[in-house]
């Protein structure tokens, strides 16, 4: 789906942000990308959607190279991006207008636009927000609108740049559930964050640090490496279960289950 080969990128008059990056996102995969501030996560996300073009290396989306500028629009159709700041993404004034914008760009007929808007607003539980001015919504609702605006376009891959960093715990849970469901239904997901707790459901995890990839593998493998190296935080249930010598657990529920099982076993 998305292939990055030996990617190099630097902003004008600045040190390189990314060097020698090789990443592959397969169809239907849920890829997590983790890293601290300034590690190049957002730059990588923007490269994957064709918003930035690499200085060196090859980047292909569904076989279309970003070096072919005449086909960038096709790349945008294949990949959707949810930005970190909910206010940065809003184009329309009302929720409906924001959703219509992308669908008009795709040239869909009006009945199809209506059907998609209703489908995704229902799916995200936002039917009553359809005519609300986006500025009057809460941070969590704005981020849900952003997610809906990308979902209605039905791209094959959605890239989420710290999608829940500016929302409360309840909205965070709702948004993460929707992301997991999207992936379950076949959409490829690239989820970028600095918080390991958000990435427990991903299939594969990559850790970025200055310029390059330092760790990659399944969440269990990567969290294990990070604990050994004492480089970054890992999900608390994972750290506790490993410390206690229990089967490794990524969620609080799984940890409690293991604790109960070990107690009843004793």
């Amino acid at each position: 789906m998305i292939e990055l080969e030996d990617i190099y990128f630097s902003y004008p008059a600045a040190d390189p942000v990314l060097e020698g990056i090789n990443v592959r996102v397969d169809k239907g995969e849920y890829l997590g990308i983790m890293g601290g501030n300034g590690s190049g996560k957002t730059t990588l996300a923007r490269l994957m959607t064709g918003l930035l073009l690499p200085g060196k290396g090859t980047l292909r989306v569904n076989g279309i190279s970003t070096s072919d500028r005449s086909r960038l629009l096709e790349i945008h159709k294949h990949t959707g991006m949810v930005f970190q700041n909910p206010d940065a993404q809003a184009i329309g004034e009302t929720v409906e207008e924001d959703l219509v914008f992308g669908l008009e760009n795709l040239g869909l007929p009006v009945p199809e636009i209506d059907a998609r808007i209703e489908k995704y607003l229902d799916l995200l539980g936002m039917r009553e927000l359809r005519h609300r001015n986006i500025r009057t919504l809460s941070g969590g609702q704005k981020q849900l609108v952003n997610l809906a605006a990308v979902m209605v376009m039905e791209p094959e891959c959605i890239i989420l740049d710290e999608p829940v960093s500016m929302v409360d715990a309840r909205c965070r849970k709702i948004i993460l559930q929707h992301i997991a469901r999207l992936n379950h239904e076949g959409t490829s997901i690239v989820h970028i964050t600095h918080d390991p707790e958000e990435l427990i459901w991903c299939h594969r995890l990559i850790v970025l640090s200055r310029c390059g990839i330092t760790n990659q593998g399944t969440p269990h493998e990567v969290f294990g490496q990070l604990l050994d190296e004492k480089k970054m935080d890992v999900p608390v249930p994972y750290a506790i279960s490993r410390k206690l010598g229990l089967p490794l657990a990524l969620t609080t529920e799984a940890l409690l289950e293991e604790l109960c099982r070990s107690r009843s076993g004793n």
């Binding site: 930005f83 184009i91 004034e93 207008e97 219509v100 760009n105 040239g107 376009m153």
Partner: protein, 251 residues
């Protein structure tokens, strides 16, 4: 207030955006050519339109606040530089003509802003873009791009006011009291910075949602209804009265 849209089902909201845009141009011409008596009639009409769009008068008047300084400057310039009958004996300025000319000009600007506020309050940005694209269609892609840029710029205006508020509050919270030119620079520089950042973000958002210059606006396309013809009819009558008052009656 300019650029802030609110969804609604009022008479003004239901008018075709093309009608509203055409009437805005027509109203601007009327306001420009109207004399004091006609300006009073137009003010009454604008207040009626405000009621018809569901826009409260308080919010309508609030939209004038950011440009009060500008109005003050216009009035003062006319007051001090228009020759005529002195108001105070022994002094060449201020003059009676200065007061009249300054007041009429300020009133014209006020009416323009009030009418634009009603128009943007009752017209969604997509509707506005559709209307602009419709009228600029003869200019091809250039017209479409220009329409989109104008419509988008309109939606950025409220954001600029919000940014200005945030900056001044942040400065006040840290004990800064703006004074003179230095205070102006302290506001304008971060405001420019933020605006450029916002434009950058917007361009990313547009690109990631497949914006292209050949896009069409069709979801909000409307067909002209009876209410549009009624609105145009009212305008024609009004224009006739204003022009009659100006050229025939002479007051």
């Amino acid at each position: 207030m300019i650029g802030i849209y609110s969804h609604g089902r009022s008479y003004m909201h239901l008018l075709d955006p093309r009608t509203k845009l055409a009437l805005m141009v027509g109203m601007s011409l009327l306001i420009y050519s109207a004399q004091p008596t006609a300006l009073a009639v137009l003010l009454a009409l604008i207040l009626l339109l405000s009621r018809a769009s569901g826009l409260p008068y308080t919010r309508l008047v609030q939209g004038l606040r950011p440009v009060l300084v500008f109005f003050g400057a216009i009035f003062l310039t006319h007051l001090l530089f228009t020759p005529g009958e002195p108001l105070i004996e022994g002094l060449a300025v201020p003059t009676l003509e200065g007061v009249t000319t300054g007041s009429v000009l300020v009133l014209r600007f006020i009416l323009l802003i009030l009418y634009t506020s009603i128009m943007t309050y009752s017209t969604s940005p997509s509707g506005l873009n559709y209307a602009l694209t419709f009228f600029l269609r003869p200019f091809g892609t250039f017209g479409t791009d220009l329409a989109f840029m104008t419509g988008t710029a309109m939606t950025l205006i409220p954001g600029l006011f919000r940014e200005k508020d945030t900056i001044t509050k942040a400065q006040a919270a840290r004990g800064y009291k703006p004074r003179g030119m230095k205070g102006f620079t302290a506001l304008v520089v971060p405001l420019m910075n933020r605006s450029l950042k916002r434009v950058d973000e917007l361009s990313d958002a547009l690109e990631s949602r497949c914006f292209h210059s050949k896009r069409r606006y069709y979801y909000y396309r409307q067909t002209l209804a009876n209410r549009d013809y009624v609105a145009v009819g009212i305008y024609v009558v009004l224009a006739g009265v204003v022009l009659f008052v100006r050229f025939e009656a002479g007051f």
